[in-house]
Symmetry: C2
Subunit: 393 residues, 2 copies
């Protein structure tokens, strides 16, 4: 596979689908007006209708109405709007916020920012597979709780939370429930007629849609205030000239995902996991075996550094992500692996594999022998592992 | 011109250029990895280099370094980051902010939001052509002033401020100077080696680049804190997976603008203005004749409603913007026309014409006779104007 690039990192889900761009083209070149109210000129009204149609598509996949969907610049902004906007709209002056300890950075760092402002924040622990316990939430929630934010599935280890139960517990206490569905939207079913979530973060670029295209589901009558200031767009919740092309691209991307395709990704993931466990000793699956994101595998290769494995795989044209926080420019271990009770060794040896529409079984056949050889060689060089693996491989 | 659509509203500057999309395509389909640090895999490093190259292009047109450019989701977010982020980073606890009275909504409403939080805000008046007086700024600025935000050119009436003088006055008092250059970037020269601005808002979609692509120039060592929480992207000033395709599109759009083209837009604008003044009586140019945006004309047609003219022009396939705040869903007159001393009649009768790369002299020849007829007919029907214009036209 000389020269071939194999994307099994985040990018695997990120590559734009050509059909998405085709859906965006008419907005770029034909119907490119700025959206206006219904009392303005034809081009502006057509633009507005195009935008609202995209809204309807996204909403439809959640069982929601189109006008419950706010378009944003991505899941980071959506989660910020959910947490900061809910707190702004709350009448409780020094309220309480609950998040899980393994949230992705937009939720986690929004909570930390609110904590600095004087709000009380509870970081719910998770079990060894990454699950938030319903009893832990019950114990933590109080009458002062403004919002509970627990992700639908984890970004690193793929754990799919019991979101219905957690949302129901939250609603019993009249707090708002937000879930970050960045990695589950269109891959794992979530219907707002069954799950009483008030706010849901979604992203286009995790399903082969454009980056810079996010959305926030806002259940009707949810108290929420905008966090950026400007015009009155998006039901006065998100200012700025609407990026209609991206909204249309996001809707097209959502429409292209099928249950059959998602099942195929789960099969690829299972094939990889089984092959790795068969071929390479001393590995640990991070996150649950079932009830995990169909497109995600996360494996610790003990006695090696994930970052080093990454660099060696790169020489073979293979991209994977390390479980540790490589984007944070710090050397801290992943807060997710640490959150499920892992130590630094387990965190630093973890590698995350992500599967998307453009991956194939061939790539797994190419990857595993390469990976096996790299891990064997690194273990021979490792002072800790040297004794253990001497003479093997 | 049956069936032809003539865009002389905001959309005229907004239509994507095909060459911009061509520049974006490789990022969508070939080099689509998530940007990573220099210690990661090849695809991620290439993505990072592509992003930084776009940064360099944008910076270059301001005389700035690439690493002084932060990519955002658009000018609304850029201006919010400038004002809210500067205030957050300031050590002055109850500081002072100065903006002009005719700023666009992102700056104006950020200032109003800060005012609600307890900051003191001075809204500088403008003269009858929209200019901020240097003496007014000198009188308003104090040792408590954290930031002065005065736009480079006005969004409605096109007034280009004496930005160098205003920035210099600001720097004498050691306050930060921000300018909203949404409508001037690449159309009106602005060089940070000559103008001591600390923060500059820019937008891709006003120069035929993609929407959802904005930037903020941040002069080195400017105290600024991020306003959205999440990852550590964009020098830890703007979290979220980078939308590299949009950044590349923005840079491509900036590169396609030439001084010759901009001079051509000014000629179209002058041709329209002269023809309207020759053909239609009782009209007023809003904003200065010279020292205005090359792509902008704003004319009040007295004794008629701009909104009504818009609807009639629409029947002829022509899109223009009303000067009044049609996007605000209110019936208030434009704060800009009111700001230059106009009354409600002048504000409601104002129409804004915007010119872009895809407009032509033919369109003006088509527009003016149609506009003349519409204005004549409406004036005949107007109870106020009936006596004045009876028997004419």
């Amino acid at each position: 596979m000389g020269g071939k690039k194999v994307y099994l990192d985040n990018s695997a889900a990120t590559r734009l689908d050509e059909r998405v761009l085709e859906a965006m083209r008419p907005v770029y070149f034909e119907n490119y007006a700025v959206a206006t109210s219904e009392f303005a000129y034809t081009q502006g009204i057509e633009a507005r209708e195009t935008l609202d149609s995209a809204r309807g598509v996204i909403g439809g996949y959640l069982g929601a109405a189109g006008d419950e969907i706010i378009f944003t610049s991505g899941s980071t902004e959506s989660s910020n709007l959910a947490l900061l906007g809910a707190v702004k709209a709350s009448r409780k002056k020094s309220g309480h916020i609950i998040v899980s300890a393994i949230e992705d950075f937009p939720v986690l760092n929004s909570a930390k920012a609110l904590e600095k402002q004087g709000y009380k924040v509870t970081y719910l622990p998770v079990d060894k597979e990454g699950f938030v316990g319903a009893d832990d939430l019950k114990r933590a929630i109080t009458d002062d709780t403004i919002i509970v934010s627990i992700q639908h599935a984890n970004q690193e280890i793929g754990t799919i939370q019991e979101i219905k139960t957690l949302a129901e517990i939250t609603k019993e206490k009249a707090a708002l429930f937000h879930t970050d569905a960045t990695h589950t939207f269109r891959r794992v079913r979530l219907d707002v007629s069954e799950v009483p979530a008030d706010l849901i973060t979604m992203s286009g670029h995790t399903i082969h849609g454009p980056r810079g295209a996010g959305a926030l589901y806002v259940r009707k009558k949810t108290p929420l205030k905008k966090i950026l200031h400007g015009g009155f767009q998006e039901f006065d919740l998100r200012p700025g000239v609407e990026d209609i092309a991206s909204a249309v691209g996001f809707a097209a991307a959502a429409s292209l995902v099928t249950d059959g395709e998602t099942a195929g990704l789960a099969s690829l993931r299972d094939a990889l996991t089984e092959k790795v466990f068969r071929e390479i000793p001393e590995v640990t699956l991070n996150g649950p075996k079932d009830r995990r994101l169909p497109q995600n595998a996360n494996i610790t290769f003990h006695y090696v550094e994930g970052e080093t494995v990454t660099l060696h795989l790169d020489m073979h044209g293979i991209a994977v992500s390390t479980g540790s926080a490589c984007f944070s420019k710090s050397l801290e271990g992943s807060h997710v692996i640490m959150g499920i009770g892992g130590n630094h060794e387990r965190a630093h040896g973890s590698i995350r594999f992500t599967f998307g529409r453009f991956n194939s079984a061939d790539e797994i056949d190419y990857l595993v022998p390469v990976l096996k050889k790299i891990v064997e060689q690194l273990r021979k060089l490792s002072p800790i592992a040297a004794d253990k693996f001497k003479g093997k491989g």
